[in-house]
Symmetry: C2
């Protein structure tokens, strides 16, 4: 039997469904809380996902107190504010723009990477955004592995939120993510995707 005739995926079908086929971006959630140990388990699951030079610049702020929610919500765009207010857990996913300070520890084989590759603040910010985005991808899958739905949003006043939560300028928020068990009418029909042959070319 050739590979072509077997299922190319090793991942079990229920796991495929949990992580991908049945998982959706949620706009509404149940009231069930998302405890700290769940977020910790998700982090431990996905923390080893690859980043450039092991930079791992993603940082999370879990917005749990009423006071912190009140600081966050005014920065959400109007159409995102109510659903964010109603989410059991809100996480600010931010890039650490000073991630290079950790590199001697995170990439001990080449401790100079800190200055050689990331000495320039503009290059460093671009790298922080890129590698944080990779990690956000892993984190979305990790939340689904915990039976949770994510509602990632970029629709907020980025400058205002950064000033409120990261006044020293060392972090920048990339995504505000609502997290919880999906509630009633959590999503509409799936949006279309590009076909394989529109995305992949072979040379």
């Amino acid at each position: 039997m050739t590979t072509a005739l077997t299922n190319p995926l090793q991942l079990a079908e229920d796991a495929q469904n949990l992580l991908f086929h049945n998982a959706r971006t949620a706009n509404a959630f149940t009231d069930e809380e998302v405890p700290e140990e769940t977020v910790r388990a998700v982090y431990e699951l996905v923390k080893n996902g690859p980043t450039e030079f092991n930079t791992t610049p993603l940082r999370l702020v879990l917005v749990r107190s009423d006071e912190a929610r009140a600081r966050l919500l005014p920065h959400m765009l109007d159409n995102n504010r109510d659903k964010t207010a109603a989410a059991p857990l809100i996480a600010i996913l931010a890039a650490d723009l000073e991630f290079h300070e950790e590199l001697p520890r995170l990439f001990p084989y080449f401790p100079q990477a800190k200055d050689v590759f990331y000495g320039d603040p503009n290059d460093r910010a671009e790298s922080a955004r890129f590698n944080s985005a990779l990690q956000i991808g892993y984190f979305v899958i990790g939340l689904r592995a915990a039976g949770l739905a994510a509602g990632p949003q970029s629709g907020f006043d980025h400058e205002g939120l950064d000033k409120e939560f990261f006044p020293d300028g060392t972090h920048t928020a990339l995504v505000v993510m609502n997290i919880g068990k999906p509630g009633e009418d959590a999503w509409g029909p799936r949006l279309p995707r590009l076909e394989y042959d529109e995305v992949v070319t072979t040379v």
Copy 2:
């Protein structure tokens, strides 16, 4: 029993191992080919991963012919060239900088998004990089779901590679990814990661 005493993850342990705990960035591969239908199955698995406004800007170029490999390899940094040359499959993961042209189809609820949010080429490029990186995160997990290892690399001459493979300037390569079954000595010891409490704060 409270949630705190149960396993917070629903994903089965063998799937956790396949996708995360046992999966590693590989520097060496077996000779086993990676057929087209495997790449297609990975795409079908991960294609619904969320992106901002469903922009899905990631494009893949599978470098299969000897001629295309010969065009690619000179642009790899020295320490990445040999392992790339030896990989069963090389994929260029690139951002489509004109992704907004597809938005009336991909985000039909708000066809004006194309011009309102992505009319400015600099904003568009930043968004293309960010959302492509999310999709690269999903793609890495998808390859692992197929029992494959990924070797993502950013160490190449980005300008030179873009000029060679995307001479019209509408795409920019973000990662050159080696793909295959891990071979002998495919990786060294795991690099350290930050502790949960260094990454996550609660407010």
